[in-house]
């Protein structure tokens, strides 16, 4: 199942079939439009364009370059996490602890640096180890116990939620961490995780760049490496994947650790852009990441999806969330609107896939 996906070109298929070696006469080539539609990210791409055009028309403020930078910033903080979450979903699992894991990472970095009066990079590294450890724990529990990822990560979600609060209170005496903005290394770390730069007079956040870099990297891994093949294989059918020699255990655990890496990165962004962290944050974000991945064409059952789809999924989230404000509408409806969008995207994806793959 993974092989057919692998053989298809990354983003732009060649315009004409040409004398390629695939045309051995056994299968008729279907029209380009249909082949394009069959790709999971095309539906969401069209959806994102539609939402963008819609808000460009209805909310004049969106046409401003700096507004677009703001929308992209919002999308990037969702998008950076939606990428590993999407890869994990393609690999057949999902992670409910992803939202609070972001806060766990930020709290760890902040408290380690502050309480030990260390250079903040020490905190950043320790937080990375902790985040990867959380991923390792999730993956290891899943593989060892055979429990569904829903249960394993629900457990981790609750554990982290409690630990975030209790440990922060125990260590700092408060439920928020202390301000670390005057500590050594803060400026460097801020430059890496939370800085911004000017492009044609518009202030763009560095997270937008990281988001696109990670997306490109994930696309390459997924389509051009053996590891990418393994992800599709374990998500499609674990047992047959194992039978053909795919290291299922390694793939699953590493995917959870990848989510840990994403949580670390976003956590560091939050820490270095807001200086302190409240321990109760992050709850509910995991569902937003999952929704962005699903809107981006990743099946909840695994085995299908892309890395570029969730980029558009996250963009749709950011666009709708900020677009409603730019348009001056009542934001009470925001969540309802998102729900409709989620269902709509899934149904359209399903319909497009069915129509396009029909001979």
């Amino acid at each position: 199942m993974s092989m057919t996906r692998q053989a298809e070109p990354a983003v732009t298929p060649p315009p004409a079939p040409g004398p390629g070696k695939e045309t051995d006469g056994r299968t008729a080539r279907r029209p380009l439009a249909l082949r394009l539609l069959a790709r999971p990210e095309v539906g969401v791409f069209l959806g994102a364009v539609a939402v963008l055009v819609f808000f460009l028309v209805t909310a004049p403020a969106v046409r401003d370059g700096s507004s677009m930078a703001n929308i992209l910033y919002q999308s990037s903080t969702i998008g950076i996490m939606a990428l590993p979450v999407a890869l994990l979903m393609i690999g057949g699992e999902f992670d409910l602890s992803a939202g609070v894991a972001v806060i766990t990472s930020a709290l760890t970095a902040s408290m380690v640096s502050y309480q030990l009066t260390m250079n903040v990079w020490v905190g950043v590294i320790v937080a990375l180890v902790v985040s990867l450890g959380v991923g390792l724990f999730n993956g290891w529990m899943l593989v060892k116990t055979g429990l569904p990822s829903f249960l394993v990560t629900l457990g981790t979600f609750l554990i982290l939620q409690g630990v975030n609060l209790a440990v922060t209170k125990l260590v700092t005496g408060n439920v928020a961490t202390d301000d670390i903005s005057d500590m050594d290394g803060f400026d460097q770390a801020k430059a890496l995780f939370a800085s911004s730069f000017e492009v044609g007079g518009v202030n763009v956040k560095i997270t937008v760049v990281w988001w696109l870099v990670f997306a490109a990297l994930a696309t390459w891994v997924l389509l051009r490496t053996k590891y990418g093949n393994w992800i599709f294989a374990v998500g499609g059918n674990k047992d047959s994947a194992r039978a053909v020699g795919v290291p299922v255990t390694f793939t699953k655990i590493s995917l959870f650790m990848l989510v840990g890496f994403g949580a670390w990165f976003v956590g560091m962004h939050q820490l270095f852009s807001f200086n302190t962290v409240q321990s109760g944050e992050g709850v509910g974000q995991e569902l937003i990441y999952i929704a962005a991945a699903v809107i981006g064409g990743c099946l909840l059952t695994g085995g299908a999806g892309s890395a570029i789809g969730p980029v558009f999924g996250a963009f749709m989230f950011g666009m709708v969330q900020q677009g409603i404000v730019y348009a001056g509408w009542n934001p009470d409806w925001f969540k309802a609107f998102l729900g409709v969008m989620l269902l709509g995207a899934v149904l359209i994806n399903q319909w497009v896939q069915r129509t396009a793959t029909r001979r």
């Binding site: 403020a61 401003d64 700096s66 703001n70 929308i71 910033y73 919002q74 903080t77 640096s113 502050y114 309480q115 030990l116 009066t117 260390m118 250079n119 903040v120 990079w121 590294i125 180890v129 990867l132 939620q161 975030n164 609060l165 922060t168 209170k169 005496g173 408060n174 439920v175 928020a176 202390d178 301000d179 005057d182 500590m183 050594d184 202030n203 290291p247 255990t249 390694f250 962004h269 939050q270 852009s273 807001f274 302190t276 409240q278 321990s279 109760g280 944050e281 992050g282 709850v283 509910g284 974000q285 937003i288 950011g318 969330q321 900020q322 404000v325 730019y326 001056g328 009470d332 925001f334």
Partner: protein, 338 residues
């Protein structure tokens, strides 16, 4: 299982590299900030009562990890320590669960209960059960218009609407024309009342803006978006300290001229007021609410007193904190008690 060998070796090497990096970095400790730079301050202490040990339950609608409630709890703990009281603290934002926690306290046969009335109707039954058992119940923080109806003996807090009105008047004084009231939790009645109060007295335009309080980057970009769509906005009114601090970033990012005012304090906020990033804060003195609620139950048990005479609430706010008085408050806020 021959595959497992290289895999675990790979994992081990990742961990080893990370640990090595951490150790290398451990050599360089921060020369500025951090815990070492924190000034140690003596905690408020007023000796200890020699009255018989009593047990009091404090049951709030706190959601986990909120800085505000942490301060309420510290006030309650200080009073409990002074009054020789064993304090049982529990909290749940869900009204039904909060009622169960009150029932739990009744079952433990406590000598007094302090509760918040965020959703008074859900607590009506357990309050009457407590009274049937002769357990005095006092209210704090939310429910200023409901506490008497439920038969509570005392109430400590601020009237959210009154606090909002005070803030609205203050906006008029500073010549504000258009303000935006940022609500970080949709459907929270206390937050809505604050904005409504501001609207009542503020002579300019007031709009409300809902943001997702559990996701700071989203809070930041939503406020930025609002300020960009409307450059006439000259005041951002936040309803909690962390959100006020984020609003300051949004204002600078949107290139807006708006000033920031807020409800509630924390230790980073007092710093921002001294720096002039935030104009003023309306403080309802959460420490005082927790402290008085517990202390009043001690007074009631040992001397039959009730504050407010059972008729009027004891108001703990609105107290304004601005550049003129932030100096005196800052040192208490730094300890996380103000």
């Amino acid at each position: 299982m021959d595959r497992s060998y290289p895999r675990s070796r790979k994992l081990a090497s990742v961990v080893a590299v990370a640990a090595a990096a951490a150790l290398t970095l451990a050599g360089c400790s921060s020369s500025s900030g951090g815990k070492d730079a924190e000034e140690g301050g003596a905690n408020a202490s007023a000796g200890k009562a020699d009255t018989p040990r009593m047990t009091v339950a404090l049951v709030t609608h706190q959601s986990p990890g909120d800085t505000f409630w942490d301060i309420v709890r510290k006030g309650a703990e200080a009073a409990a320590a002074k009054d020789n009281i064993k304090l049982i603290y529990s909290a749940d934002p869900n009204a039904g669960s909060q009622a169960n926690l009150v029932q739990n306290a009744i079952d433990q046969k406590v000598d007094g209960i302090a509760i918040t009335l965020a959703k008074p109707d859900a607590l009506k039954d357990v309050v009457s059960k407590a009274k049937a058992q002769n357990i005095p119940v006092v209210g704090l923080n939310s429910g200023v218009s409901e506490w008497q109806k439920l038969g509570l003996t005392e109430f400590f807090g601020q009237d959210e609407t009154v606090a909002g009105e005070a803030l609205g008047k203050r906006l008029n004084e500073s010549g504000a024309k258009k303000a935006v009231c940022v609500i970080q939790e949709q459907g929270n009645i206390g937050l809505t009342q604050r904005c409504d109060g501001v609207k009542k007295t503020f002579e300019g335009d007031l709009e409300t803006l809902n943001v997702n309080g559990t996701d700071m980057p989203s809070v930041k970009s939503t406020i930025t978006a609002k300020l960009k769509t409307d450059s006439d906005i000259d005041y951002v009114v936040a309803l909690g300290a962390p959100f006020a601090l984020t609003s300051v970033q949004s204002v600078s990012e949107a290139g807006s001229k708006a000033k920031v005012a807020t409800f509630d304090l924390n230790k980073d906020l007092t710093k921002s007021i001294s720096k002039g990033d935030i104009e003023f804060a309306v403080d309802q003195q959460p420490y005082l609410q927790g402290y008085l609620a517990i202390d009043s139950l001690w007074l009631y048990k040992n001397n039959g007193n009730y504050m407010g005479g059972g008729e009027a609430p004891v108001l703990t706010g609105p107290a304004f904190v601005d550049k003129s008085n932030v100096e005196t408050i800052d040192k208490f806020a730094a300890k996380g008690t103000r």
